[in-house]
Symmetry: C2
Subunit: 190 residues, 2 copies
């Protein structure tokens, strides 16, 4: 069992074709935002232009009023994908950190950005995420205060073939960042 | 009376600070999209990275379901402003082409991007816009089929101090583009 799993069957874009969508997906508490922020720092230190589109922040700016119903979640995820693509095609590395639980919707996000899209599955067992419960959301979900919550009352559909899987309960944040930076180098983004 | 009016009381950003929000505002039919597309071509020819955030396209991707009520229009305009700012701070020239009829809301858009923001008032008399009626919207508004329509049943608040005013019924598209390119040069964007 590897803690960081690279899928090498994905065609790489032409070297030098800067800009990418790094699509982090995973349960609440899996460590997407932590990884995104650490990666942002590393990439900025390398002189790259980077934006982190975090689930909560984007919801505030682009999707206020949307619920957590399947339809509204899809709308939110596709808005993030639209903005990430606008950035990536202008040479920015756009890191998204929304749960994005549904496989179909992530496929639509991928279709928008083509070869610039890299799916990074930030995986951790539900129990580990729930034990951390950084924002106290699992507790509220178990208490029935949040009626629809991924992993508790709504499914999380893991990626079939992500470009990279980072098992966040087995590796350090730095190791996760290293793996993503290597991926970007191999794909010619860096 | 000048057909292109430059406001020189606006502080310019430091030279070399690439990236800008070119905020085109004006009535439906005033020529915002035409000017935006012509400008996009010119700027691309100059090697610039450019995105046009057109009212209709953005509404489809970011604001589906929003009405034309004051509150929803404001939400739509602020979403455009959020995305335009993300692009501009990464060195892209983001051209927006939404009616954006309310002065207060445009002020909020300006506040998001600070010195990168350039307001371009694309002005033409209502009669001229209505006579063109490119999308047939004025006719529908007069017939009562569109209950809220800027210039007919909802106010357009002209900018008090736009960085540039282009009187689109008096100048050619090329002249408008020239004026905007000059503005960008003076501000150190180009």
């Amino acid at each position: 069992m590897q803690s960081i799993v690279r899928n090498r069957d994905v065609p790489a874009p032409a070297r030098g074709d800067a800009g990418a969508v790094l699509w982090l997906t995973g349960l609440s508490g899996a460590g997407k935002s932590t990884l995104a922020r650490a990666l942002e720092l590393r990439l900025r230190a390398l002189g790259q232009r980077v934006e982190v589109l975090d689930g909560d922040e984007v919801r505030e700016h682009l999707s206020k009023g949307l619920t957590f119903s399947r339809e509204d979640r899809d709308t939110n995820v596709l808005r993030i994908a639209y903005v990430a693509n606008l950035l990536a095609r202008n040479g920015v590395i756009a890191i998204t950190a929304a749960i994005s639980p549904y496989r179909d919707t992530r496929a639509k996000a991928r279709a928008m950005s083509g070869e610039r899209f890299c799916e990074v599955y930030v995986s951790a067992p539900l129990e580990a995420c729930e034990a951390r419960d950084v924002k106290g959301l699992y507790k509220r979900a178990r208490a029935g205060e949040i009626p629809v919550f991924t992993g508790v009352s709504d499914p999380y559909e893991p990626p079939d073939a992500p470009e990279l899987e980072v098992k966040s309960h087995e590796v350090t944040v730095d190791q996760g960042v290293d793996a993503i930076v290597s991926l970007l180098r191999e794909r010619g983004v860096l």
